[in-house]
Amino acid sequence: MKLVIVFQKRDIIIQLCCCQHCAKTLTSAPSKDVVLRTCQWGFLYRDRQKVPESVLNNLVQEYGVTMDQARKLLTAAGALMKNAVFQGSTDPADLIRLFPSDFHTSLRDLLAKIIIQNMATWKAQAINNQVSLPRMVDFDWRVDIKTSSDSIARMSVPTCILQMKVQENPLRVDQVADVSTVNVELSKETLDTMLDGLSKIRDQLSSVANR
């Protein structure tokens, strides 16, 4: 039997028909912690084509199954966790609706409990990895005083240099993205204008927050 996901857009109910064999494998797990770890790995590697060998070997040892079955188990667990996180609800009633009605009840309750425990962490991870423009990771500034130049021998002009570290979205799922730096020089007038703009943003943010 293969993995079948039926997605009904109107009801946002996701019926996941896990392979009966996968459900049987999970019920034969040595302890609840093993099931927890399986779910966590499932979520972690949910988007990967290639799962690390060490993880699969671990599953093979814990459950006493073949590599192929371990891979299928991980994929099924990942898909289940992914759908649960998409729904985002931590209400047990909603989670129970994720499973088909003839699903093993105590396994279903255990999986629901695992999902509820880890929902906050997984949501935060999903938000961190979401599609976005390059993100600013860090920034530094310094203030210099220019004392002379080729056009005037003596002067005392302060200027600000700002360096921002920007991280692109990773090109590959298993690699950390490059961090590039953006260096900008600001004169006093530029900095004043920039701060005016930033203050406007802050005012608008607080007005939105107060509504």
Binding site: I12, K82, V85, F86, Q87, G88, K123, A126, I127, N129, Q130, V131, S132, L133, P134, R135, M136, F139, W141, V143, I145, K146, S149, D150, S151, I152, A153, R154, M155, S156, V157, P158, T159, C160, I161, L162, M164, V166, V182, N183, V184, E185, L186, S187, K188, T190, L191, D192, M194, L195, G197, L198, S199, I201, R202, Q204, L205
Partner: protein
């Protein structure tokens, strides 16, 4: 004549400069005043060279002077305030140089007075020409709320997107980045500190 030392130039200026100054002495005070005005207008805005040439041509036509001779004279008289600005000479030093070059007393004093009057404008334009690395030209921003994503059906976090337009020397580049709200507040806080520092130093 014994070799005199000049402030505006390390070596003795060429003889042509001395003869140009003598030519200047022959001009009436009013005509000299016009020439001095052109000198300072050009120094305050060196990009307007076409305007300067127009002014010099008109002057040559009105006063019956040859255009080329006028240009040489003008070049000589321009070099003095130019180096004075680069070396930050005092008005007394400029007056001394003009006297040693042979400019008449009245004209030299007039020149130095005009120098004093225009000094602020000249300094400002010199500062404006000073090198700036990766100068920030413009900043655009927008902020919003993420409604949903492929991983989460309901998201609710705010983001701020900045576009910085930077003049790199080789052209203008746009730099895009996204900030979370706490990052934005810390950025604002740090920029206010930088502004306070700049204000204290200027």
């Amino acid at each position: 004549m014994s070799a005199q030392s000049f402030h505006f130039s390390q070596e003795t200026p060429p003889d042509s400069m001395f003869s140009d100054i003598q030519t200047l002495n022959k001009f009436q005070d009013e005509q000299f005043g016009h020439l001095v005005q052109y000198v300072f207008e050009f120094l305050t805005d060196p990009t307007k060279s076409s305007r300067l040439f127009g002014q010099l041509e008109d002057f040559a036509a009105e006063n019956g002077v040859s255009g080329n001779a006028l240009k040489n004279v003008f070049k000589s008289i321009l070099s003095i305030p130019n180096s004075a600005l680069k070396k930050s000479l005092s008005p007394e030093q400029i007056k001394e140089d003009l006297d040693n070059l042979g400019l008449s007393e009245g004209k030299a004093s007039y020149f130095v007075d005009q120098w004093r009057a225009n000094l602020v404008g000249l300094s400002r334009s010199a500062l404006g020409q000073t090198l700036m690395v990766n100068q920030l030209v413009d900043m655009e921003w927008k902020f919003g709320v993420t409604a949903a994503s492929s991983e989460l059906d309901k998201v609710g976090n705010t983001f701020l997107q900045l576009k910085l337009v930077i003049n790199t020397g080789n052209g203008v580049t746009n730099s895009y980045m996204e900030l979370t709200l706490p990052q934005f507040y810390s950025f604002l806080h740090e920029m206010e500190k930088a502004k306070a520092s700049l204000e204290y130093l200027s």
